[in-house]
């Protein structure tokens, strides 16, 4: 079981690393981080805040871009091209296959965020000299968020075409960050039916604000350790649920 998952995950990781798109996004991310170093002198008195804010936001944005672009194609491309059949003709279960692909993309994301985070930390240490370990916490939270989004894209890519999976995943991302606001809006303004719909949406879509500590980190607000624990459990639970659901959908799928 573990051998199969490791093989599939490493295979996916290697594919994304050799994917030119991944390199482009990575390079672009690094350029963005570098540009913050150039722009920050223009913002007198708030240099470090601007750099941290833009840097963390850029990492989250490029992480999302990789998940959506690579994740939506990851399984669908194999189904369309037929590479999947030589894998599933082996003693590999369909759920194993999905988990392997999911883990592989997570590995890619972790490596990418680690690289970008390393560069980000280096820039902060060298330029204004205001590095804080809380920044690493924000990067960790960004990774957890990407893991959930990865699970969402895996689920969608087993059901619909790659472009549709990408659009639907972006929709979940947006709603996921606005879910509390949507619910509050429904409670305040809506009819009872609307309230129920908004409440349903709130529970159905992952609450991605759980992972958002960027504002607090930028302003130097304290962050309780428990928040990391809750976010980790929430991420793992939600992602596991979605991957199990994706496995159930994928089990009934004809591959040729």
């Amino acid at each position: 079981m573990m051998g199969t998952l490791t093989t599939l995950a490493y295979g996916t990781f290697r594919e994304t690393v050799r994917d030119r798109l991944f390199y482009l996004v990575g390079i672009f991310g690094f350029i963005m981080l570098a540009s913050t170093a150039v722009l920050s002198p223009l913002t007198i008195g708030a240099q470090s805040k601007i750099m941290v804010d833009v840097g963390l936001a850029a990492m989250a944005a490029f992480g999302l871009l990789v998940v959506v672009l690579v994740g939506s194609n990851m399984i669908r491309k194999e189904m369309d091209k037929g590479t999947i059949v030589t894998i599933l003709a082996r003693p590999v279960g369909r759920r194993q296959y999905l988990i392997g692909k999911f883990l592989g993309l997570n590995l890619t994301l972790a490596c990418m965020l680690a690289l970008m985070g390393g560069l980000f930390s280096l820039v902060l240490l060298v330029a204004p000299g205001t590095f804080s370990p809380a920044y690493l916490g924000a990067i960790y939270m960004a990774l957890l968020e990407m893991v959930v989004i990865n699970a969402v894209v895996v689920l969608f890519s087993t059901c619909v075409s790659a472009p549709l999976a990408a659009v639907a995943t972006l929709g979940v991302f947006l709603i996921g960050h606005l879910s509390q606001s949507i619910r509050d809006f429904g409670d305040m303004q809506g009819t009872p039916l609307q309230q129920k719909i908004f409440a349903g949406l709130y529970y159905l879509v992952p609450n991605l604000e759980v992972f958002n500590i960027r504002g607090a980190v930028v302003h130097g607000d304290p962050i309780a350790l428990a928040q990391f624990g809750i976010a980790t459990v929430y991420c793992l639970g939600y992602a596991a649920l979605l991957v199990i659901l994706a496995g159930a959908v994928f089990r009934g799928k004809g591959l040729r």
């Binding site: 030589t86 003693p91 279960g93 591959l255 040729r256």
Partner: protein, 341 residues
């Protein structure tokens, strides 16, 4: 419903309980004694197509059994249901009904496929990998340890003639090279059962011959091989048994030896006129230049004719197939299918 022409298959040559020494490996794989390598019972598969998702029958009521150690061919024209049958066997598409067992185990269990090597029709692999990396990836899925990989992968690359291109990315491989690396990944782990979908398609004459010789070698080592093809001579050269599919139904299942009995052969010989008397009465003769072409109906008559030629010192120029028994049967089943539709 078409009538299935079904001659009871002959006993499999050497049904075995264990395979010979693994290709490049030291492990001996055990297969249960007396259990068919593959058992397909009443396999059915429907498709939905078009805007209204109309149901169409892909294959219907396919049943056959493949004893261990034989070469079994699925013959049919394009669209007859060969690939669908293979995809159902490997659970790549879900059958609408029926049962499939691989060495006695349900085909839906992933572990049942541990003993299977598969080459898809039009093989397509990860283009970002090299041939060697693809084999390593496949070996990982088989839980093969590094020592065995290090021994087996170079041997397989040599077997399929891709040693020099082993470190080239697959995107640079030609169609024939992809077919060969596909065959290589199917051979990995020394599987007891090989399922090959059109293994000779896309290969030049040299490649076809190499694959044929490779499969013959595997057959001699006691491997069970199931392959699909629409090319009759390939099947005649390789298979022990053949099942003919037409419009999604199995319409005939024969041992090749039985079909060869009804093959029409032709012996080309130079016969001195004083040695060409009444002995050839009853044979169909034609003359081309200085040679006489004599037709023999079936293997036994051919053997008789060759013995006669040796006794009377004919100069035999060649022996050919005038009309193959399998080809005749194939055409016959196709015509029957068209007449009934």
């Amino acid at each position: 419903m078409q009538q299935v022409v079904n001659i009871p298959p002959r006993t499999a040559p050497d049904p075995r309980t264990e395979t010979p020494k693994a290709l490049g490996g030291s492990e001996v794989q055990h297969t249960p004694a007396g259990v068919p390598a593959l058992e397909v019972v009443d396999l059915t598969r429907d498709f939905r197509s078009g805007f209204r998702r109309k149901r169409q029958r892909g294959i219907e009521g396919i049943s056959f059994s493949v004893p261990p150690g034989i070469v079994f061919a699925l013959l049919g024209h394009n669209g007859a249901g060969k690939t669908t049958t293979i995809n159902c066997i490997l659970d790549l598409v879900h059958s609408g009904g029926g049962r499939v067992r691989i060495f006695g185990r349900e085909h839906t269990e992933p572990s049942a496929r541990a003993a299977v090597g598969y080459l898809p029709e039009r093989p397509y692999f990860f283009e970002h990998l090299s041939g060697r990396e693809l084999l390593r990836f496949s070996a990982g899925l088989l839980h093969m340890d590094r020592a065995r990989q290090a021994k087996e992968i170079p041997e397989i690359l040599a077997t399929v003639g891709l040693e020099e291109a082993a470190d080239q990315r697959l995107r640079k491989y030609s169609k024939g090279m992809l077919q060969r690396i596909g065959l290589g990944q199917a051979l990995l782990g020394d599987p007891d059962l090989l399922i090959l979908d059109e293994p000779m398609s896309g290969l030049d004459p040299v490649g076809r011959r190499q694959v044929r010789e490779l499969l013959q070698g595997l057959r001699d080592r006691g491997k069970t091989i199931i392959f699909s093809s629409h090319i009759v001579p390939d099947i005649e050269m390789l298979a022990d048994e053949v099942a003919i599919l037409n419009r999604g139904r199995l319409v005939a299942h024969h041992p090749l030896a039985d079909l060869n009995r009804s093959t029409l052969y032709e012996v080309q010989a130079v016969i001195p006129s004083n040695r060409e008397p009444q002995v050839l009465e009853g044979y169909t003769l034609t003359r081309h230049g200085g040679a006489v072409h004599i037709q023999a109906d079936g293997v036994e008559e051919l053997n008789g004719l060759l013995t006669l030629g040796a006794e009377r010192r004919w100069k035999i120029l060649g022996v050919g197939t005038r009309r193959s028994g399998l080809e005749e049967l194939f055409m016959q089943t196709r015509d029957q299918g068209e007449a009934k539709s």
